[in-house]
Symmetry: C2
Amino acid sequence: MKYILGVDAGSTKTAAAIADETGKIIGRGNSGPANIHQPDSKKNLKKAIDNALADAGIKAGKFASACFGVAGTDTPKSLKKAKDLVSKIISAENLQVYNDTMLVRPACSDKKYGISVVAGTGSNFYGIDSKGREERVGGLDYLLADEGSAYRIGQQGMNAAVKSYDTRGEKTMIENLLLEKFKVKSIRELANVVYDKNFGKYEIASIAQVVDYAYSQGDAVAKSILSEAAYEIALAINTLITKLELEKEDPSKWDIVATGGEFMSPYPFEEKVREKILANKNNFMVCKTEPVDGAIKLALEGIK
Amino acid sequence: MKYILGVDAGSTKTAAAIADETGKIIGRGNSGPANIHQPDSKKNLKKAIDNALADAGIKAGKFASACFGVAGTDTPKSLKKAKDLVSKIISAENLQVYNDTMLVRPACSDKKYGISVVAGTGSNFYGIDSKGREERVGGLDYLLADEGSAYRIGQQGMNAAVKSYDTRGEKTMIENLLLEKFKVKSIRELANVVYDKNFGKYEIASIAQVVDYAYSQGDAVAKSILSEAAYEIALAINTLITKLELEKEDPSKWDIVATGGEFMSPYPFEEKVREKILANKNNFMVCKTEPVDGAIKLALEGIK
């Protein structure tokens, strides 16, 4: 029996799946984060694969094909680092290592090309056309390019709360919601919380949930922040459509598949993004399937 | 002879000055940063004062009056920390410890009240009215509220460069200028630079100079970023004018004094901010005097 391995190594968790040569999944395993820049990436990659092997009831050996989608591989240098690391962990006749964004579309779509969208803690956008030409936009993390992400929404939520407090900006309930969330008495005391060494990217992204809640209560400032995020997601998609000239391709052959926490917001991100898409807008969908299943599909394609 | 001490403890350097009881400065000393949250704040405060004492040719003793403006004292807790620290370093019959923003207006103005503006690495805005009522807006550092600061300009410059590169946004020469500044071949490689552990708030703020240069070469994106910063500085000033009802006060009795690296930009910040001020716009000035001279004035007032 030949086995296929798929791995989605993300910034918050890692998922591995093992399939037989028909693509039927026979084992799954999870572990902690394995973004290539995280210190435990090797340990967590290995652990997720070991857990999947145990679940499938098979021993480690040579896989017929394996596909890894690894977060943080946004430069040629970091992608090479991921390939080197993966080669040390497993052996496969056919091995593919990509940025994790690439798994999104195959996980939900059987079409051969199109656009993958990730809008979670960070945001990332990848597209491929019928000739195999690839393009990326954004995907450079919170300092350089995270438009449409939970991080950016959280950051704008904090800024709006301060401006509401000191009357520079419109009043928003995000102000009081942040006091409750962080158990402080005034907005000025938030400085003690957010400049603590344990407060980082993920903590800022968690403020997106506060903005979501404020939106659900009718808060106009929250609505405006979320509306800008939807605009940025659509802008990234439209940029890829234009760069890859997808509007000239047969609309039945490509699609746009999205995933990430943003799409669980009470704000209707799926609808608002779709409205703004310039071409093939009805082929935009939010994927409920795990991206690791996209890795299995890509691994299978590798041996066809 | 009675001596007066003034200290401006900033996030990049500390300046101390010693004056005689007429206010004539007889010694000056400098040292490294002493933002209350920085590890060397005690050492640098002591060093700047010791240097000023040596320059004046006098020995440490009890000062008749002393005034400290300390950066990072944006909450009651951090201001108390600064007061405790200062009390351990010097002894004074009359001791005042404030946020460093408070030194700006007295440094350049003999009027009794008005607004202080700092727009450097960070931004901070403080106002006081004829009844002694104080108000602050912003001044909560780069994550919470740094609108109009070099940090924010640098951050927007980076985001604009990425958007220019991946064609999401308007083309800007900031893109190529960043490649030159950080000696990388592509925008995607910037990730290796900006996520390095040695790249922080000050390095991002240094990108404001790149935006300044692009503006001086006619770059429209750079102009738009700097214009937004001027808008934010004016918004903060106008908010303080409204909160303190300064528009109802005698316009000859109060003024608005600004300092910080922003005002050295080729972009005409002084003119653009003044245009937008709602009341007493002709009393807005950029202060060329060192803020430590404001500390001496406040210390002198303390014994009058």
